[in-house]
Each structure stands twice: as structure tokens, then as C-alpha cells.
Amino acid sequence: MTQQYESLSMQEESNTLKRTSLFQSHVSIGAQMLPFAGWEMPIQYSGILAEAKAVRFAAGIFDVSHMGRVEITGRDAAKFIDRLVTGDVLKMVVGRARYTIICNEAGGIIDDTIVYRLDEERFLMVPNASNADEVLAWLNHWKDTWGSQIELNVITEETALIALQGPLAKEILQPICSVDMSDVRPFRCVQGQISGVTAIICRTGYTGEDGFEIVIPSESAALIWKSFMDGGAIPCGLGARDVLRLEAGLLLHGSDMDSSVTPLEVGLERYVNWGQGEFMGLPALQESKSIGLSKALVGFRLVERGVPRHGYHIVNEHEAIGTVTSGTYSPTLDMGIGLGYVSLEFSTLGTRIAIDIRGRLAEAEVTAIPFYSRKR
């Protein structure tokens, strides 16, 4: 048996890896740890399929403390963020969360992120782990260039970020939480206490299920983690997280998009605020829209057995027409699913394509994303 391909393990120097404040909690319950974006992270505990199932049908918890956390405070905070992301930040009321995109001048995607408005002049931005440094440098650059009256405060080290996800998430959180969660709808955030610990509680996630993402002080992370486990939540690793996000049609920066593509090409135009106002990359995006697209990111499902994976070729009649950016076996749908770029003529729903799985052509079909939507 020789491993040919592993989707989540990256070749990295293991002696320089950072550890989250939950490292001991993971190791003590037998997690498999692997390098990911410079961090030593749990890839799985009981098994990816069992963990993914727990999130779809009950509840799971994820340590996502490797993701960036930047507090942006000050008089110009709203205006500053609004100029740097594709969405409208000025209209966000306190307690709102918004998924949005950070573009460069050319409209290329530096990162996608969620912005939380904690107070009139206080925001939390959560960039991807692998982009946290680049995003911070970008924020600092424009703060200095514009002379914005803001402060940037990185709280990644002093806090932990735990995602509690699944249909039973609210039932597990509510008994130990000081805030009535019925008042905190999806894409809202609130400050409160969990097991007596001060927390920022956000009704957001990356799994396609109801759930929460919770920022707490590092020193209390193990206590809160245990409280959720005692409540019945199953510890889940990055392996299950990748399966769940892909089923839910959620893109991963670094795999499905990067600074060489625009929000239009990756199908995220609905997060671009074409209305009044000006933001970084808008002129380039307007020009791109007027010219039209040449390629697009599409979802596909295999109609025969097989697992598509990052880097495989997408083929039409033996001619490569694109590349798979993300792929997995979907346990919820019991089939191979994936995302990839194809030239525009092959992007229509229902188009028959094939995936070159190590020399074997597996038939596939361009499909609407998300692949899976929870019942509401």
C-alpha cells in the first residue's frame, strides 16, 4: 500500500508548527494531528464519516483556533472595512455578521472572511489561517496609506475559536449560556457568558448546518470544550470539516480560489455590492463584468464510482477542459462530488463531463451548488 494522494496533509516543517490552546484536549482523546497552514491541528478523532454524520444529525465541535482573529476598532472602523471588502459594511447594525470578500486592486481574491459588528466602533474579522498574515499586512498597509483612525488588534493567540455545529447545537449551548439563543438568528452575534466565561457567540459556521462559532479566552478553552462534550457534542477534525463544507457548497480559499480569480469567476457575485460606494477592486470587477467571463467555477457530481480530488483534470472527449479544485466522497449523498474551473461553454447545469481519476475517466455531471441544503 502506497499513499498516492492525501488531501489535507501538507508538507511542512513540523518543528515550527503552532499549537492551539486545545492541543492537550485533542491529544488526550486520541486525535490524529497533522500540519495545516502552519498549525498542528486535529484531522480526525473517531473517523471522518462518523464525525460528519454527527454534525448532520446531532452536533459536533471543531477547534478552529488556527483561523485569524483581528479586532478593528475606532472612529473610522466601519468606513475602513467597507472600503476593503466587496460587501456593504456601513449598513451592518451592531450584532450583525456578514460573509464578505477582500479583493486586491485587480479584483483578485485575497481572502474571504466573516466580519462581525460587535459595537458601533468595534468589529471582528476572521480571515483564513493560511491568509491571516497577508490580510493583516493588507489592513496595516491601507490604514497607513489612508491615515484611518482605527486600531488593529490581533487576538488570535489570546483567544480560542470553537465551532459548535449541527441540529442539536442550540440545545447543547442554551443551558450553559447567559443569552437567549432564540434571539440570535443566523448571521447574528452577541456577547455573553458560557459556563461563566465571557464569550463572543456568533450564529455562523462552515458546515451547512445551524450552529455557532464562539470566541473565548485561551485559558478557558479546555473548560468550554469539555462543557460541549458533556452536552453530547462529538469532537470533529478538519477532515470532517472539509467534507461538510464541500457538501454545503462553501469554497475554500487556497484551493477553490486565490488572488488570480475574481468573485465573478467563482460564482460569488451575490456578495459584490454594485450599488453606491467604492471598494477595493470595484473598477476592475465592473470592467470584468462588462467584458464577460471566460471560465467559471462549477459543482459536479460523479455518476459512477470514484472520488474526485484536488488537481485532477476535468475532461471532455479526452480533452482537458479544467481542473478539480476540491473533491471528496460525500457521505450524506453517497457519491463523489467536487468543484472545478471549466471554460464557460461547459458550465451549464446538466453538462456531461468526465474526471480523470488517475487514468480512469469517470463520468460526471455539472450540478447546482450547494450539493446539500439542510431542511429548515
Binding site: T2, E6, S7, I48, L49, G239
Partner: protein, 128 residues
């Protein structure tokens, strides 16, 4: 901890003499643990001939795809349809119900090229 009634390859396959002229082939507990949840197995057809260390098939888990190599030369005389239909059995029981193929060996002495259970355990320890 590793069954004594069979031999092991450096690629984490095992071969077991069934004492009826055939050998069973499978992957080790270390292999299934390392792969994680197995979702598909690609195995040869009955009648196919393989040389020792030639590619026998593929095993797809959620997180990876790996080649499986034949620990001995011979002709495939049976494919375990149970694991083709329910690949998770290889995770649950890699040594009994989770065997992959039955081989009619062309050179049975090749089994001596493979490691004993004790040697295989030492080999695993050397992998760290």
C-alpha cells in the same frame, strides 16, 4: 498484536496460506488505521495474473487514495464481494472478513520473502 498465521509486506499488505493451495491477501490494521474511512476498493477481476509487488488495486478513503500491491505472484481466483459492496469492513476487520482477493500462487516460496509478524512490528516501530 499482529496475527502470526500470515506474512507481511513493507507496503502493509498481508498474505495468508489457506493450506488448500491458495493464499488470501489483505491490508494490515496499520494500513486501514492510517487510511481512515475506506469508501471504495478497486480490485482486479478473477483470472487476472499478477507478479509479486505488481499493483493489485486501489483503495480510496475519504482523505486519500492508495495503490495496493500484490505480496505474491499468482492468479486471482476469487474477489471478496463483501468488501467491494461494504468497504468499511476492511476498517472494521482487516484480517478476517476484510480480506481482498484469493490468489492461486505461481511461486508459493515467495511467501518467505515477506516479513513475519514480529519483523513487521519491528518495521512499524522503525517508521515511528
Amino acid at each position: 498484536m499482529y496475527p502470526l498465521d500470515r506474512r507481511y509486506s513493507r507496503d502493509h499488505e498481508w498474505a495468508k496460506d489457506e493450506n488448500d493451495g491458495t493464499f488470501l491477501i489483505g491490508i494490515t490494521d496499520y494500513a486501514q488505521e492510517h487510511l481512515g474511512d475506506i469508501v471504495f476498493l478497486e480490485l482486479p477481476r478473477v483470472g487476472a495474473s499478477l507478479n509479486q509487488m505488481e499493483k493489485l488495486g486501489e483503495v480510496e478513503s475519504v482523505k486519500s487514495v492508495s495503490d495496493i500491491f500484490s505480496p505474491i505472484s499468482g492468479e486471482i481466483v476469487e474477489v471478496n464481494q463483501i468488501v467491494v459492496d461494504s468497504p468499511e469492513i476492511v476498517n472494521e476487520d482487516p484480517y478476517d472478513q476484510g480480506w481482498l482477493v484469493r490468489v492461486n500462487p505461481s511461486q508459493p516460496a515467495e511467501i518467505d520473502d515477506l516479513m513475519t509478524a514480529a519483523d513487521y512490528e519491528s518495521f512499524l516501530e522503525s517508521l515511528g
